[in-house]
Amino acid sequence: MNDTVKLEHNFFTLMGQAQQFTVDRAALKKRFRTLQREYHPDRFAAKTPQEQRLAVQFSAHLNTAFATLDNPVKRATHMLELSGVTIDHQNSTIKDPVFLMQQMETREAFDDARADNDLPALESLLNQVNSQFQACQQDFAALFDASQLSASADEKNVRDTVGKMQFYEKLSDELTSLIRSLTQ
């Protein structure tokens, strides 16, 4: 197949960002919009089917790149992939007992507050989860930049940190949508 555009698979390069966890969101969005303005299929609507197909491909790739860099968990996963570490989110397990215990407690608090429709409790839980999520992101940034994944111990540690981030993100989403449905 020679009909595919060579897609740049390093999203940091594609989006003109330094390859690090902290991204400049304003610059990211600006870059995304500049590229979409040039390559969105709408710019090719009056052109030939082949040009349209190439544009759809490239535009879809830009959408994926933006969505990846814009989201902390996806961004971290992408950074690991670029370093040759793949994460299987479905099958990875975290063995940190302190973290696991803490999560079980959070879950219980969540279930209780949900059962009681206890809005203040849910909101305070959300604040707590979000700050843990933030802290976890800072851990990742520190770990990744310090080690650059040189030692396998670091790799395990970094992997776990991404797993925890994913955990917090999911919990935060669930809490947010529950709170929204209760306040309507």
Binding site: N2, T4, E8, R37, Y39, H40, T48, V56, R180
Partner: protein, 639 residues
């Protein structure tokens, strides 16, 4: 063809050529067509609605059939409706892309056809077919008649064949309904540049795409439907945050309220009037409603064989009659605000769509809710068509300076069925489109050689709660132990929100593919069949037009290839260059003859041999863009 036309900054590759592009508001009750006039002409780049020969902008979305097919549309069909209700279809947009399963409320199709005459071939999973004198008809076919009529009107007004169209659809339309709309355009022989959401079109007509980031409410009260949409404009990108409304509430209900009032004042019942007398009263009621927009009171009368009654309807009384109806629309606005997680005070603009928004009480209530006067400068009947025309003009390439770019999101999640009737979402709702996602699956039994892929749309976890879009099978997987096969399923959603799914087994390369033609849509072969049937009427005209079109296309392609060769010939080796030169010569030779098919084949052949060239040019352009050079340094935006 496959060429990126790259030229010197500030220079167009070809002298600017005006292309005829139209915007169509394909409405439930009424449809309209609009276009942006050629720059330099009298109307200098302004979007205008195109009227029919009688000077009417609106085409009622009504089609009348007789035994030779679709006999007439619009006002003409509306006039026949009373005499021949069984063969006259109205409001068929309600059935676009819908199967019996979707239409739980049978009143939905009684609006379309009073006799409830669903064709025998309609089974639960199929698209609804209605029996008429012309045979079984789908909503897609009826819509195609409306599109044909509007396209012909526009071609007359603009002085030539229409090269592209933007058609509007409700924001809540799902994949099947969007596909059905595209199918209708195909049947009408219309090239669809893009389907855009109605509320987005209305916002574009007001030039809001050039505004700062904000939230916009579009309040659309049509004849028979009410829709409210909340849009977010963020750096020139429109996103639909929430939609709501009532598919059985519209301006027609205001008319009915006046009819009920007059009947009770005259102390008679509707049954005591003849059909004709009742129709007359309904028409008078509508006129009274319109009159009350500018007057404080209006005379209403009933003339029947039993009673002659004359009275005066004041604005105050009328407001009282429609109070509950208007309150219901305001409640829907509040619900949509909630869904979008916004308060009324956060809304920067309120855009009114639909003729019924002229009613003073509606404007009063909307103003009170959003604490600001709604936008009303653009005719609310025309605003959607005008926005579509502006977008069409930009897409076809007439307006090179236009910065208008509508980035859309997918309204509902797409996924496939996995074990236990569960849905695995592959593309989540609100993902920016176009979008490509791949997911790997495996076999669950030893020796399994086939895999059924069931594509569904919706937010729920169970397949039974989602809408089934398509099923296909991947066969010929070599027998392996369970879990050894690696099957990659790829979803591609284009900029119109239409899906294409393929599946491939990684080890053997066995693949299967389906362009999602939902169970509710029309099969490709069905469309071909319908197209053939419609061609047979005026085959000679069409042949001549086809030949002319093919010649234009061949010449355009050859010009473009030559231009590309002059600029980027160095991207090719000698053998490739020779092959392209030969294909150009062949295309030119055949274009001089009168065989449309042969020309089309030659164009296709030239397109094929320039594929690689086009790709290299695109790569070159993208690489340059990525190196941080301004795009303007490599191209003038006319890729």
């Amino acid at each position: 063809m496959a060429l990126l036309q790259i030229s010197e900054p500030g220079q167009s590759p070809v002298p600017h050529q005006f292309k005829r592009a139209i915007g169509i508001d394909l409405g439930t009750t009424n449809s309209l067509v609009a276009a942006v006039a050629n720059k330099g002409g009298a109307d200098n780049g302004v979007a205008k609605v195109i009227n029919d020969a009688e000077g009417r902008a609106i085409l009622p979305s009504v089609v009348h059939y007789n035994d030779s097919g679709a006999q007439c549309v619009g006002y003409e069909a509306q006039a026949i409706a009373a005499d021949d209700p069984f063969n006259t279809l109205a409001s068929f947009k309600r059935l676009m892309g819908r199967g019996l399963n979707d239409v739980s409320d049978t009143s939905q199709f009684q609006i379309v056809t009073p006799n409830n005459a669903l064709a025998d071939s309609t089974n639960k999973n199929d698209v609804i077919r209605i029996a008429t004198a012309a045979g079984e008809v789908t909503a897609t076919q009826a819509s195609a008649e409306i599109l044909k009529c509007l396209t012909a009107r526009a071609a007359d007004a603009l002085g030539g064949a229409i090269e592209g169209a933007v058609i509007t659809v409700p924001a809540y339309f799902d994949d099947a309904q969007r596909q059905a709309t595209k199918d209708a355009a195909t049947l009408a022989g219309l090239n669809v540049l893009r389907l855009i959401n109605e509320p987005t079109a209305a916002a574009v007509a007001y030039g809001l795409d050039k505004a700062d980031d904000r939230y916009i409410v579009v309040y659309d009260l049509g004849g028979g439907t009410f829709d409210v949409s909340i849009l977010q404009l963020s750096e020139g990108v429109f996103e639909v945050l929430s939609t709501g409304g009532n598919s059985a509430l519209g301006g027609d209900d205001f008319d009915l309220a006046i009819v009920q009032w007059a009947l009770s004042q005259a102390n008679i019942s509707a049954e005591q009037l003849s059909a004709q007398e009742y129709r007359r009263l309904l028409i008078d009621a509508r006129a009274a409603k319109e009159s009350l927009t500018d007057n404080d009171s209006v005379a209403v009368s009933i003339q029947s064989s039993l009673v002659v009654w004359a009275g005066e309807l004041s604005r105050e009384t009328f407001d009282g009659l429609i109070d509950t109806l208007v309150t219901a629309t305001i409640a829907a606005c509040k619900a949509s605000l909630n869904d979008a997680d916004l308060t009324a005070g956060e809304i920067a603009d309120v855009v009114l769509v639909g003729g019924s928004t002229r009613v003073p009480l509606v404007r009063e209530r909307v103003t009170a809710l959003f604490q600001q006067a709604p936008k009303t400068d653009v005719d609310p009947d025309q605003v959607v068509a005008l926005g579509a025309a502006i977008q069409a003009d930009s897409l076809i390439g007439n307006n090179r300076d236009s910065d208008l770019l509508l980035l859309d999101v997918i309204p509902l999640s797409l996924g496939i069925e996995t074990m236990g009737g569960l849905v695995e979402k592959i593309i989540h709702r609100n993902t920016s489109i176009p979008s490509t996602r791949a997911q790997e699956f495996t076999t669950y039994k030893d020796g399994q050689t086939a895999l059924a892929v069931h594509v569904v749309q919706g937010e729920r976890d169970l397949v039974s709660d989602c809408r089934s879009l398509a099923r296909f099978e991947l066969r010929g997987i070599p027998p392996m132990v369970a879990g050894a096969a690696r099957i990659e399923v790829v979803f591609n959603v284009d900029a119109d929100g239409i899906l294409d799914v393929s599946a491939k087994e990684a080890i053997t390369g066995v693949s299967a593919h389906v362009q999602v033609k939902p169970s509710y849509g029309l099969e490709e072969s069905e469309i071909a069949q319908m197209l053939k049937a419609s061609y047979s009427h005026a085959s000679e005209d069409r042949d001549a037009r086809m030949l002319a079109e093919q010649r234009v296309e061949a010449e355009g392609l050859v010009d473009a290839v030559n231009m590309a060769l002059a600029q980027d010939g160095h991207l090719l080796n000698d053998a490739e260059r020779t092959e392209i030169d030969a294909a150009i010569a062949a295309a030119l030779a055949i274009a001089g003859q009168s065989d449309a098919q042969a020309i089309s084949d030659a164009v296709a052949a030239l397109g094929r041999v320039t594929d690689t060239f086009a790709t290299r040019r695109m790569d070159q352009s993208v690489r340059a863009a990525l190196q941080g050079k301004s795009i303007d340094d490599v191209a003038d935006g006319s890729l």
